[in-house]
Symmetry: C2
Subunit: 223 residues, 2 copies
DNA sequence: TGTTAATAACTGACCAGTCAGTTATGAAGA
DNA sequence: TCTTCATAACTGACTGGTCAGTTATTAACA
C-alpha cells in the first residue's frame, strides 16, 4: 500500500460536534435503515450509532431504550402520511369513490417507493414479543387508518353512491392488498429471479374491482 | 405444603425412554408452539426441549440447527393443507366459482382455528434475516398456492364463466385478505378489548365481492 | 470556568451449539 | 431364564460469542 493521503491538516478538527437538536432525527433515520434491513431483534444498536455518526452511548442520551427508539421510528415514518390521508379524506366534498381512488394510489406509491413500507412487517414480526408496541401501533395507526376508510364508506352509503355494504369487513378487504404488497416487497421481492411485484398494476386492478363491488351502477368504473 | 403424593413406586421408573421415531414429531410440535408464541429469534431451544420432554442436546440429534428445525415446522404445518387444496382444485370438474368458494372457506377455517395460521407471520418476520428460508417458503408454499388459484382462474376464463381478468394481480387480491387475517389473528387480536377478528364474516363478504368481480353475469352470487 | 454533549471501555445476561459422560435396551451367551 | 455386554439414545454442564444498557472520562462550547 503506497503512501497514504498526506495528512496536511494540523488544523484542530474537533473530534466531535455538539448538535443536540439534529441528533434525534439522524438517529431515527439511521435506526429506520437498520431495522428495515435486519428486523428489530437482529438490529444492533452499535450499527445504528455508527450509521448516525455517533457512539452507542449517545443513543441513550436521546432514547431510553431500543423499544422507545423503535416507537420513534414508527411515529416518524407513519404519522405524517396518516395525517395527509386524514386531511385528504376530510377535505373532499363530492363523490366518495374518486377520494378512495386517490387514497389507494397514494398509499400504493408509498408502498412502492419509501422505506415506510417496512414498518408493517417490523410491527407484525415483533407483535408477539412486544404487546405494548402492538397496542401502540393498533391505537395510533391502524385504528386511525381504518377510521378514515370507514367514514368514507359510510358517507358514500348515506349518499346512495355506494351499495349498503358491511363497513368493517369491507374496510379490511380494501386495506389487505396494500398491506400484503408492503410485506411482500420487503420479504419476497427479488427471489429466484422472479419479477418484482407490480404494485401499480395490483392497485389499478383493485380499484377496478372495488368499483364493481361498491358502486350502485355496477359496470366499468371508467366508461 | 402437606404430605406429597405417596411415593408408592419403588419401581425403577426409568429417567427417560428411548423413543427414536416419536421424538421428531414431538419436537416439531413443541417448536411450533414456542415459535408461535415468541417468534423465531426469541424462541429458546431450551424451552422447546422442555416442552417436548427432552434435553436440549436431544434436539441436535434430530435437527442440525435452529433454522432446520424451523423449516421442519413449516413443512409439517403447511404441506398437508397445501396438498389438500391442490387435490380439491384438481378433482373438481364443473364450474370454477364454487371450487373457489370451497377453497377460500377451507383456508379461512384453517386461519381461524389452527396454529398453522402463525406460520406466515413467522416467515414474514424472519425473511430478512434468513433469505434462504424466504426462498424456501416462496418456492414450496407461495408458488404452489398461487398456482392452484391461477389455473382455476384460467379454467374459468377459458370456459367463459369468468370475465377475462388479469390473472396474477387477481390471484394476489384473492389471497391478500386471508393472509392478512392470519397475520391479524396472531398479532393484534384481543388488544384494547377490541372484538376479535370475525374471519367468517370477512370471508363471506370477500366471496360475495369476488362473485361480482369475476362472474360474467354480475349481480348476487346466490339469487 | 462550568456545564453538558459525547465517548469508549466495561458489565452482565443471554443463548445456540458442543461434548464427555450416563443410561435404557436388546441381543448374545451361560 | 438369567446374566453380561455393546450400542445408540439421551443428558446437562459448559463454551464462546453477542449485545443491550451503564459509567467513568473527555472535550466542545457558552
Amino acid at each position: 500500500m503506497p503512501d497514504r493521503a498526506p495528512r496536511t491538516e494540523p488544523e484542530a478538527l474537533p473530534r466531535w460536534r455538539r448538535r443536540k437538536d439534529a441528533r434525534p432525527q439522524e438517529i431515527v433515520a439511521a435506526a429506520m435503515d437498520v431495522f428495515a434491513e435486519r428486523g428489530f431483534a437482529a438490529a444492533r444498536l452499535e450499527e445504528v450509532a455508527a450509521r448516525a455518526g455517533v457512539s452507542k452511548g449517545t443513543l441513550y442520551l436521546y432514547f431510553p431504550s431500543k423499544d422507545e427508539l423503535f416507537k420513534a421510528v414508527i411515529r416518524a415514518a407513519i404519522l405524517p402520511n396518516l395525517e395527509q390521508a386524514e386531511a385528504m379524506a376530510a377535505a373532499a366534498a363530492g363523490p366518495c369513490f374518486p377520494v378512495l381512488e386517490r387514497l389507494l394510489r397514494m398509499v400504493a406509491h408509498l408502498v412502492a417507493t419509501t422505506r415506510a413500507a417496512t414498518i408493517p412487517r417490523l410491527v407484525i414480526a415483533e407483535a408477539g414479543n412486544f404487546p405494548d408496541l402492538a397496542a401502540f401501533y393498533h391505537r395510533e395507526v391502524i385504528r386511525r387508518a381504518f377510521g378514515v376508510l370507514a367514514s368514507l364508506l359510510q358517507r358514500g352509503i348515506a349518499s346512495g353512491e355506494f351499495r349498503p355494504v358491511d363497513v368493517d369487513p369491507t374496510v379490511r378487504l380494501i386495506v389487505a392488498p396494500l398491506l400484503m404488497s408492503a410485506v411482500w416487497r420487503t420479504s419476497f421481492d427479488g427471489l429466484d429471479g422472479e419479477p418484482p411485484l407490480d404494485v401499480p398494476a395490483l392497485v389499478e386492478t383493485h380499484i377496478d374491482n372495488l368499483g364493481r363491488v361498491l358502486l350502485r351502477d355496477a359496470g366499468e368504473t371508467t366508461p
